[in-house]
Amino acid sequence: MALSVVDLRGIYTAYEGGDRPVIKGLSLSVDKGEYVVIGGPNSAGKTTLLESINGLVRITHGNAIVCGLDVAAHPHEVRKKVGYVLQNFYFDPFTPFTVEQVVMMGRYGRLGLFNRITKADRDAASRAMRLVGIEDLANNTIGTLSGGQQQKTMIAHNIAKEPEVMMLDEPFSNLDFRAREYLQGVFKDMVRGGVPILMVAHAFDWLPDVPIHLVVMNQGRISCDGNCRAEEVEEIIRKECSVA
């Protein structure tokens, strides 16, 4: 039996000040090497699910074990092992950080306090930039890049982390079809290497031809959780969302 990297059992998640939970009694298991697509209508709780897994949002009930750690008890340790590409970000033109510095920041969590950056860290950052195809932009300040280049930088930032789980929230919204295809190849390799991918998406025409673990969410619950082929994803989601 495959070892679950993400094991959520009956979790409820609520934001402070909210009058009701956003995630309600959700259970989900993700194994090594799985490609998970999370779909559903707006406000279904997809982003909240990702942020519950890495402890950015508080789980009020239930149990969440990620990479062998209890998320509620060790949120910082969990975040060191989980890559998370945020949905929205904007960097003004005068943001004083280069692409290389931003990618290297992905290593800071695992480095810890007072430890020096090593050659292994620099190599990981260089590898991540090469993998994503932004090594020529290393010395450019991030605010001067296009939206797509900034998105690639944030993906490289998380790849440099060498995560045990990779979560992406609509990572292709600013990317052209060539960049999407290329990065899907990168994610396929990660999955083959045992790193599960959890991706929130609204468009599915670019999904790779690998078995997909499809999770459809609606109103804070999972309405469908199963395996399918890439070409079936959109149809299943449409069906689930129109039934709910």
């Binding site: 402070e16 000040g17 890495n54 950015l56 910082h76 340790e77 975040r79 060191k80 998370y84 945020l86 970000f89 005068f94 943001t95 004083p96 950080f97 280069t98 510095q101 931003v102 920041m105 992905g106 800071y108 969590g109 695992r110 480095l111 306090l113 007072f114 950056i117 300040t141 944030m154 930032h157 982390k161």
Partner: protein, 282 residues
Amino acid sequence: MFSGLKMLEPLISNNVVCYAVEAMVFASIACSILGVIISRMSLSSIGFTMSHAAFAGAAIGMFLETNAQITAIAFSMAVAALIGPVSDKAKMAADATLGVLFAMSMAVAIFLVSYMEYMGKGLSSSSLLFGDVISLYREEIYALAAVCFLTMLFVLAFYREISAIMFNMKMAEATGIRVKLVYYILLFIIALSVSLSLNIVGGLLIFVLLVTPASIAGQFCFNLKSMFIVAPAAALFVSAFGVWAGFEYTLPIAPLVALLLTVAFALSVMLSFKRRINTKIN
């Protein structure tokens, strides 16, 4: 233990001038370094909030007829300790929380100053607002030097964490960095710097030192490390010149330095190459 420690005495024979320059040097460096951080984190209002918190604390000390500097430090720390939790609990932006705490501090200070004047205690609050670099004790200079050193040590020790937080706080948190810890240490150091500098350089100049040198650096620097060098250098140069001009022409030093920093900022905006548009076709 440090009574024999010489700093600028070999260079400046006049003790009064020497102490004033030393005080300005340490206050400038500490506040301008912190200013680089708070300007990127959109916490510029922390400057006037903390300076007024120190002002309120000093007023409490005067009211209780105890050491005003200690009460200034204690009250600043208390306000600094409230910023994070109040923002979190009240779900307010940090700037809004700072506004509330600023108003509270100002109210406490004005209430006590007015009450003491009414009671005939004849309290003068001008030194808290405008500072007094003329009559300084050696221990005050040492305390400022220690805070300046602590600030530099904080930035060096936590440079990676600080830079990640300044880049994007949520991303820093998602990376596994202990954002709250670094944030609270930052607030503590700001509180300490402001409260120790308050009666020396005054609340007015503290706020200017927290905001303006970083803004000057921002006009020319494209990366963070250079901002951490240019901001204190600009503050140091202008402050030293202001102290000299103040003594030379018998002018109030702290307001003069504040004005000079503002002029320096205006010049930096005019001269900044960040605003140039390359109109070359080839």
